[in-house]
Symmetry: C2
Subunit: 434 residues, 2 copies
């Protein structure tokens, strides 16, 4: 039977009499060592860790793994091994992509936690896996231990999903929660997060939304059946957010979160990763610290929420091991892909129609609100509220304007005219209100 995982039933088995499935591990960092831990600790397991590949094996070796696990620095050892499934948790685009191609071509299935790789070339790797009658699973690439990929792909397969909203980056959520809780400036919250290990030394990928964007790309494929390059999604940094924005948001019954969202509407895919105001009673507002949350909305089932630990060695390793078990359980599914909705490549836009939050810093003089209002009026944008803080500095006067629902592009065009006005101390901060 071609395409079936050929498990070695001569190599003994576990207490349940199941054949043994041999697993090789590429990468022995935080996630890799957690995967190894679960594999050796699991009771009744029919999974056997046989190979570990890492740079500088001599320094990486640990004493809590069985002595017969083969350590190597050479991918050829993995390709030539009897491993049934190769787990990739080394990260990066190269040589990872080449290696995964070679693994699939050598008739082994793949489990990967690599969001950038799957966002970048997931469809090609899935096609190669199908061609080789192998499988590639990537449940750990989005939201770590939260089983959102399988939930969307299988649990909600009976629905027609059209909307995905998520908090997909724990670093940003931690930083924003800290600004909110302690009223500290962005830079302080970032430094604190770095000190505690919640943010990396170079936090660009997280802060600027590139990490979340890769995850949203994957979710848009799995849930909305839209193939799109990650770079086609607008990503905006959370760096301009400061304590004052949380005060303002709070007056509007909202808080601020980095929101990744994709929505199919009138044949277009609206998509963006950006800081946004969310109502306090939304599940998105209640996501604390480094937690992740995904809200999927379908035509028939309405809103479904998945939440939990989006990162960390152990939760991510749970997703990896669940994927290993899914490959063993499902074998190959020749009917599976054929029956799925055809993937589409719709026009991608970030031009969401929402309410808007505009935070200005101006040099006070008569007529400021009049000039702003007249520019907005010319674009047919309606003002919802204007809030001027009393007792503020005349030379750095904070001014808050919220706008009724209108296309984001309309606001951005008006802001181009506004940002060059002589009373503007800095460009206006513009956030959507969800």
């Amino acid at each position: 039977m071609p395409g079936t995982l050929k498990l070695d039933s001569t190599a003994g088995g576990n207490a349940n009499g199941a054949p043994i499935c041999k697993v090789a591990l590429l990468g022995f960092g935080t996630v890799g060592s957690s995967v190894a831990k679960i594999l050796v600790e699991r009771r009744n397991t029919h999974l056997r860790l046989t190979h570990i590949l890492n740079r500088n094996v001599a320094r990486k070796k640990v004493d809590w793994l069985p002595a017969d696990v083969v350590w190597t620095e050479n991918i050829d050892d993995i390709l030539a091994s009897g491993a049934d499934i190769v787990v990739e948790v080394m990260g990066g685009l190269q040589p990872t992509e080449d290696w995964i191609r070679r693994v699939l071509t050598s008739h082994k299935s793949v489990v990967t936690a690599n969001k950038q790789l799957i966002a970048h070339c997931g469809p090609e790797l899935i096609a190669l896996a199908q061609q080789m009658q192998q499988q590639i699973e990537f449940g750990a690439s989005v939201a770590g231990g939260v089983p959102v990929i399988s939930g969307l792909h299988q649990g909600l397969a009976g629905d027609e999903l059209f909307k995905i909203y998520g908090i997909l980056n724990g670093t940003c959520n931690y930083i924003l929660s800290q600004i909110e809780a302690n009223g500290v400036p962005f830079a302080t919250a970032l430094r604190e997060a770095q000190k505690l290990g919640f943010a990396e030394a170079d936090p660009t990928d997280d802060i600027d939304g590139l990490d979340a964007r890769a995850k949203l790309t994957i979710l848009a494929r799995v849930a909305l059946h839209c193939d799109l390059p990650a770079t086609s999604i607008v990503a905006r940094s959370i760096a301009p957010i400061d304590a004052v924005d949380f005060e303002n948001a709070s007056q509007l019954g909202c808080t601020i979160r980095q929101i990744s969202r994709a929505e199919l509407k009138s044949g277009k895919l609206f998509a963006a990763v950006e800081p946004a105001l969310v109502e306090l009673n939304s599940p998105l507002a209640r996501v604390e610290g480094s937690q992740n949350l995904v809200m999927a909305t379908g035509l028939y089932g309405g809103e479904t929420v998945f939440g939990g630990h989006g990162a960390g060695g152990h939760p991510t390793a749970v997703a990896v091991v669940s994927d290993i078990l899914a490959i063993i359980r499902a074998e190959h599914a020749p009917n599976g892909e054929a029956g799925r909705p055809r993937h589409q490549s719709p026009t991608i836009t970030s031009d969401f129609v929402t309410k808007h939050y505009l935070r200005f810093l101006v040099k006070d003089r008569p007529g400021i609100i009049a000039s702003l209002a007249s520019i907005l009026a010319k674009s047919e944008i309606n003002i919802l509220s204007v809030l001027q803080k009393p007792n503020s500095s005349k030379s750095h006067l904070p001014l808050l304007i919220t706008l009724e629902e209108c296309p984001t592009s309309l606001v951005e065009q008006a802001l181009k005219q506004i940002n060059i006005l002589d009373f503007m101390v800095q460009p206006c901060l513009h956030l959507p209100i969800l």
Copy 2:
């Protein structure tokens, strides 16, 4: 290849070239008609509804289904049909169980939304399905449209789950939310729920926790691998809860919900369905109206939350159609069950160790707190707080006592002595504080 779903590739196919899977429907009530709706409305579908069984077909027939759908009142027509998968949404234990056995024996797979049936004889039906090399899926039997069964069974398969907490009954949650929001007595909230269709004319199964208990039985099997009869789980009614309990709970930073919980600890399964105090910042406290929520805790991945619409025709139908697609996708999985942890049948107890809430109604006289305190002290139960409402009636004085963490059985034994004291107007209301 035995055991593979034999889809009819000669019967044409859909735009994707996938073979057609024929579906028969037992029951055309709210859920059944929603399933039919999704099957006929889905784009690119390779699912074809061929038969519908219901009593009194003449009255049930609708004009929005294709004319070639066969309507029948006779199960033999379904058994003799070419249907690949039979969907059971008629409910009840008999004749449903017999019919499902006959369907499996006639080499058809089954999808059911019937929680009582699966709680009652799920393991036997699964064994029969395996023996016949067919599948039985029951994702819709717990939490309707929330994909919690697949999430626990597959998405979190890599973890060792040991704890399940859930809000599994939308009727109870709706009633409790109404008491909380409007300060109305239980009876009023129930009547209102019945008027709006959120509670049935005979609400016993919901109110007394029997509905939630069946669901918890299924979750304990799927998540904790514990086989147990539903009747072994203690279920307590929400009927004694009144507005005053929400006031009291609020003073303790809590609200009250009907909580279904099962926890593996020291080789025992602690399980119960009962009203309980939950902290306001818990995801359980924030479940509104008829929503459902399940929190699963694992050794490695920590807490994962699944939430959404727990009932209703369309959400439940999404779970049914997702199960149909899962059967088609997965074919048979000979490795699947063998590799799973062995099911266990541990001792079942409801003797949770928690903090406790005791609400008394007493005839006021000196020495009441002293008598209560001395009985509790003799059982080595520590009091956490005592709250006496000022300006209350002397003959019906409300008194609230909270207790430090101790086994529930200890409190129940002390209450046996307390409930017969002469100053007790009614038996003490006793709730756990989670």
